[in-house]
Symmetry: C2
Subunit: 218 residues, 2 copies
């Protein structure tokens, strides 16, 4: 499994051209989503929400303000828009209390303890509540954990992908609000992922710094 | 491989108590680092730097201002501190020009094109250059992609882990500067990961929202 895992990581690259005629099967796509679902997040709060778009016309709408992903998204089989919560994630929110009770099934005394720790963390340690931007950026970070796992999961089953940050954030949010019924008071956009099958081979050889260039052993 | 990948994801949890007597072997730890190294990042700029601490006394120093990770880091076999670059990542920086030339081996005309796209992305699309905080948060996001892959890689080979955001960021940076020779003008701290072998079984059953609770099909 070690070799196959690394092979999947080596094979993954930001696919620039997908084969429009090939669709990722339902089970395979669910496997990718499952890798996202099972990903960890700070305090286990899963601050993400996924929007899956398959219809080409709708993908064109969603990527209207994208320069870095429109072509890729079009040829792909699935476009996954990943959103993150914002205000709901303030320590003490009704949403988080409900989440700890209903999803995490925690008893009331643990909820109170966890709430207190989370409040200190947000206010003092990471100063996450300084602005709306710092809050959404912190929540966004958590969704990048899921990104790592979903891209690797795709590669494990031979599905190519392209992560997309190349779009105008505010204008794209407007489109999601107006045309996709996303409550942009509650959700921000973190990134998009295009999944499908590449047309041809990877155009470049993967490059990375050598381990010794960025790993320091104390 | 599909089943084994999901099994690894199911088995991973934030380990609260490590068996101090068990050390992660050199090859296994390198496998985990390799999963980080091969992770994608925006524009392929790999904005991360890793600090590996194994000596218990040194781990105690690094986690001096941590409430959420000190005990875990102590029992673990390896503590990995993940840092991210800041100012170096401004479009047009000498560092990025060097990176595109020496690591990515891009020809000069492509470097100029990529620089321009990156500048627009930072200034306009994602408004990353609004403040020092937005820049470091954006760079930090990229390191969370590597986090996802490293935690999953660990689980693939039966290594337990605990991701740690539970520390005072500024005070920990001071320690890294003073005692670990980290240039905190250049680097910010993103998170820490403890790796080792759990003492006993997972204390909780993993909880997650159901797919239908957060995945919307357009």
């Amino acid at each position: 499994m070690k070799d196959k895992f690394l092979e999947a990581m080596w094979n993954r690259y930001a696919c620039k051209e997908f084969d429009e005629s090939r669709i990722v099967g339902k089970e395979d796509f669910e496997f990718i989503l499952e890798a996202g679902r099972l990903s960890p997040s700070s305090f286990g709060f899963e601050p993400w929400e996924f929007l899956v778009i398959t219809d080409p016309k709708r993908r064109l709408e969603a990527t209207e303000h994208s320069w870095g992903g429109r072509d890729r998204a079009m040829g792909a089989s699935h476009l996954l828009v990943v959103l993150n919560r914002k205000d709901d994630l303030r320590a003490g929110s009704e949403y988080l209390d409900g989440f700890m009770k209903d999803v995490q099934k925690l008893p009331q005394d643990i909820i109170e303890m966890k709430s207190g720790a989370f409040k200190n963390f947000q206010e003092d340690d990471f100063k996450i509540l300084e602005s709306e931007r710092t809050l959404t950026d912190w929540a966004g970070k958590q969704t990048y954990i899921a990104m790592g796992n979903m891209l690797t999961a795709g590669s494990v089953i031979g599905v190519n992908s392209c992560p997309i940050e190349g779009f105008h954030r505010e204008k794209t949010l407007e489109v999601l609000d107006e045309k996709f019924n996303i409550d942009t008071e509650k959700f921000d956009i973190a990134y998009m992922l295009a999944f499908g099958y590449a047309k041809g081979d990877a155009p470049f050889k993967k490059t990375r710094r050598e381990m010794g260039d960025f790993v320091h052993f104390d």
